[in-house]
């Protein structure tokens, strides 16, 4: 495993977006993971649509039939991957632009830009998470966002943080040590792409500590999924 890794340096991460006042974080996490997988499969970075997931994905979780993806009212990345595998794939942002509101499905199969080959869920093991990140590209993850409402920058490593998950984001890399302004201590961290615009956090990104002494901080290791895209020439 490399001591540090960042998919942004390899061109596999699209621009930071803003979900607006809509509980669609799960669609940004899903599209971001597929963008990275599609980049690995085709060598092209296509910026993909979240609105198609908001409007068209009402897939339910096999283990919990009442838990279905519901646009601005919430969803889950693994059921979104299931929807994409069944629907055929995801259009580009350009062809199916984001509005931040639930609306009728306007999916056009002829405009599919990325197709899901399969998806997997990773065990709660930071080495396995790092290995899957390096191998499969950015990962869709859940996190507890309680400290993110007031976060401005640095490496977040709260003494106490709940592990019930309420936000979906994209894990794009990891660093070996980040300078912690108030603590003068170096902390290894995950690099997380959020969907609250570039005027939040560190240009839209969040860093949270990782490592054997702080495992699964804010639940960051406990809902991790990878997706692989169908290779097209």
């Amino acid at each position: 495993l490399p001591t540090e890794f960042d998919w942004r340096e390899h061109g596999a991460v699209g621009p930071v977006k803003d979900q607006g006042s809509c509980g669609s974080c799960w669609s940004f996490s899903t599209s971001g993971a597929l963008e990275g997988a599609n980049y690995l499969a085709t060598g092209k970075l296509e910026v993909l649509s979240e609105q198609q997931l908001v409007d068209c994905d009402h897939e339910c979780d096999p283990s919990e039939p009442r838990a279905c993806d519901a646009g601005c009212n919430g969803g889950l990345m693994t059921t979104a991957f299931s929807y994409l595998a069944k629907a055929g794939g995801l259009e580009t942002e350009k062809d199916y632009p984001y509005t931040g509101r639930n609306s009728a499905c306007k999916f056009d199969k002829s405009k599919i830009a990325a197709q899901v080959k399969n998806f997997s869920t990773v065990a709660i093991d930071e080495d396995q998470i790092a290995a899957n990140l390096v191998k499969h590209g950015p990962l869709a993850i859940g996190i507890n966002a309680v400290f993110m409402q007031t976060y401005i920058g640095g490496v977040s490593c709260p003494y106490i943080c709940g592990r019930h998950l309420d936000h979906g984001v994209l894990l794009v890399g990891y660093g070996s040590a980040g300078y912690a302004p108030l603590r003068f201590k170096e902390k290894p961290y995950w690099i997380i792409k959020n969907s609250w615009g570039e005027n939040w956090g560190e240009s839209g990104y969040y860093k949270i500590c990782r490592g054997p002494h702080v495992k699964n901080k804010c639940g960051v290791d406990s809902m991790v999924s990878t997706v692989t895209a169908i290779h097209t020439s």
Binding site: D69, A123, V146, P158
Partner: protein
């Protein structure tokens, strides 16, 4: 949440300044994030939420000293409003694990040494 044993002591006057100048901070927050409120009552309500969030940011700073916490574009929202409008992960981790334990989607273990 009891105060952590080791407490980063940020300059006391900085904390009092935040409280004393909440209105000035709120005015610059409104300008910076282009906020607008329907009427004077809403403005007053948002100012009181903002003041609570200043205290919340200070508490977060104490609990999370290796990051920087403060005024963000969400500083005029209560924690509930923030959760309802800007999150959206639908299921708890527990049911997620129930869904995946032994499921066809478990990722195979990858080599991580060497």
């Amino acid at each position: 949440l009891e105060d952590p044993l080791i407490e980063q002591v940020v300059g006391g006057d900085a904390e009092n300044e935040l409280e004393l100048n909440a209105e000035a901070h709120f005015a610059s927050f409104v300008r910076r994030f282009g906020k607008s409120y329907r009427d004077a009552d809403e403005h007053a309500h948002r100012l009181s939420v903002f003041r609570d969030n200043l205290r919340r940011a200070r508490r977060h700073q104490r609990l999370d000293p290796s990051a920087v916490h403060g005024i963000t574009k969400f500083s005029d929202l209560t924690p509930d409003e923030f959760r309802e409008r800007f999150l959206g992960l639908r299921k708890s981790r527990r049911s997620f694990l129930k869904g995946i334990s032994g499921s066809a989607h478990d990722a195979p273990a990858l080599p991580t040494d060497g």
